[in-house]
């Protein structure tokens, strides 16, 4: 039976066929598009990376951030200063205390108050403990991305000691909310310093253990050496900071380079750099950093001054009008707050510079031409926290 086909239907059919053909040609010419994430076990959260593949090789990659955007910069405008510390805890949730410190320092700079020395030392100790807790997880997690399950269990086991310390001092395992303008909430409980000295031994032991587990391992070496190389000038162009920059040979550490109220200048520590700039170098630099942090905490515990932990501040905190920028060397890199105050209870505007956001911006450059399994290794070695990208 003949079917009556109108001209309109016929032209629609031809157009559809042509569109199909175009798609096929496109697929053949430019390869396949693959979404890594937003829900993927190898990304630590909801980062989506769109990669275009030619066989096993990546032609083009693009990170899509924003799946976990919580609007903290906007939220700070409608919260008071004491309320904001509890918000910024949740930016980099593995080293929470480190997020509070630059914000509080910026507010103190505007108010022109200075915390007493004991408070600064306690801040510095907790800051470094936060760094240890954060980086220990990376040291184990890198193994998981390569298929080695044991290191991550060791990492969780030994991170627990550090988290217990933070909890017994501040009351919160992950979100301390311990820093106040002009000082701290409370002093350490009795016996905390001795306990910490014991835990630092375990942390150093963990570093030795993970070194025997992974560093000499043939699989680990071959999957990280020479993979994802970032030359120093590219690292500079993309604004990389922290261990990612230091692994490319850039000798940059704000703890040493910037004057800070926190007593890093009174400690003796080495800033490790690595000339290679590959995944292995980034792992190695972080491993050394944990050791250096343990060294810093030990020195600080030896020389902690006694005295008050809170300077005199008004009960209702109003910050005078002005602008302040404070940045510190956080576990993931350079973190800073640009606080603009108009004299109210909360900031007028607060710009949060997070390290992961800049560190992830290099992925389109870095992932071009690598193979699919290496995408996971490179992402793991860049070490970002999703809350830190999206905040």
């Amino acid at each position: 039976m003949a079917v009556n086909v109108t001209d309109r239907q016929r032209s629609a059919y031809i157009a559809a066929q042509a569109a199909d053909a175009r798609v096929n040609v496109e697929l053949e010419a430019e390869g396949m598009t693959l979404n890594i994430g937003p829900q993927h076990p190898a990304t630590h959260g909801t980062l989506r990376i769109v990669v275009r593949l030619d066989g096993e090789q990546v032609l083009w990659a693009e990170p899509v951030a924003g799946y976990m955007h919580r609007g903290y910069e906007k939220l700070t405008e409608v919260r008071t200063y004491p309320q904001i510390t509890t918000l910024v805890n949740r930016i980099d949730w593995l080293g929470s205390f480190c997020n509070e410190v630059p914000f509080i320092l910026a507010a103190e700079k505007l108010m022109d108050v200075e915390a007493p020395p004991r408070a600064q030392w306690i801040r510095c100790i907790l800051f470094e403990l936060g760094r240890i807790a954060n980086l220990i997880l990376f040291l184990g997690d890198m193994g998981v991305q390569l298929g080695a399950l044991t290191p991550v269990f060791f990492a969780f086991r030994d991170r627990e000691h550090v988290l217990n310390l933070i909890e017994s001092a501040t009351g919160g395992r992950f979100h301390p909310n311990f820093d106040r303008i002009g000082g701290l909430k409370e002093d350490f409980p009795k016996g905390w310093i001795d306990e910490t000295k014991g835990v630092l031994k375990k942390v150093v032991g963990f570093c030795d253990e993970i070194e025997t587990l992974l560093m000499g391992n043939e699989i680990f070496e071959r999957r990280t050496r020479g993979i994802g190389v970032i030359p120093p000038h590219v690292a500079m162009e993309y604004g990389l900071s922290g261990a990612n920059a230091r692994a490319s040979g850039i000798d940059f550490d704000l703890r040493r380079d910037e004057a800070s109220p926190l007593p890093w200048d009174k400690c003796d520590f080495k800033v490790w750099t690595h000339p290679d700039g590959d995944s292995f170098a980034r792992y190695w630099v972080r491993l050394q950093e944990v050791r250096e942090s343990a060294k810093i905490v030990r020195q600080l515990l030896e020389g902690i001054p006694s005295g008050a932990i809170q300077a005199k501040v008004p009960r209702i905190i109003k910050v005078p009008a002005g602008e302040a920028w404070v940045h510190t060397e956080n576990p993931l890199g350079e973190m800073g707050y640009y606080v603009v105050s108009q004299g109210g209870l909360g900031p007028f505007r607060c710009k949060i510079r997070t390290p992961s956001f800049s560190n992830v911006s290099i992925t389109p450059w870095l992932l071009r031409g690598v193979f699919v399994p290496d995408v996971i290794t490179i992402l793991a070695s860049l070490y970002f926290i999703l809350g830190d990208i999206d905040r």
């Binding site: 509890t86 004991r118 044991t150 017994s168 587990l213 391992n217 006694s306 008050a308």
Partner: protein, 166 residues
Amino acid sequence: MAPKLPGLVKGLGVTLRTMMKPAVTVQYTGPHGKEREDPPARARGVIALKEENCTVCMLCARQCPDWCIYIEGHKDKAPPRREGGKPRSIQYLDRFDIDYGLCMYCGICVEVCPFDALFWSPEFEYSEPRIADLLHDKTRLGEWMEGVPEPQALEVGALAKKGGKK
């Protein structure tokens, strides 16, 4: 000079050594009954309310970053302190609810309370199958007072708190 061990064997040696050590984890619930690790005294587990200290000043409800505290009260006459005096007018607490489904555990309410009516307790076992049951009313919050620890001693070199026990 020891011969160079392949990395895999060296790594497996670490695994074997750790296998011989006792487990560090605790069997929370299960066939061996119930074990639990007690959190430190400062842990922010649950907020306890000492009802007689509350004066319905609403400071905690106003300072709460996510407004999870609901307070209602009324003013009423109370008997005079001295015989023959004027009857006083004081605030009575009718409702004090904390919604733990919203609470961020920041502790601002405990800190701002000027009359020491709110305390942290390290108790943590209050999960509920229904999210609406996480709203604790004032009797439930009062029951948490049992778990509130005594003020702790501070580390050497700390300044003693004013009026606090050493």
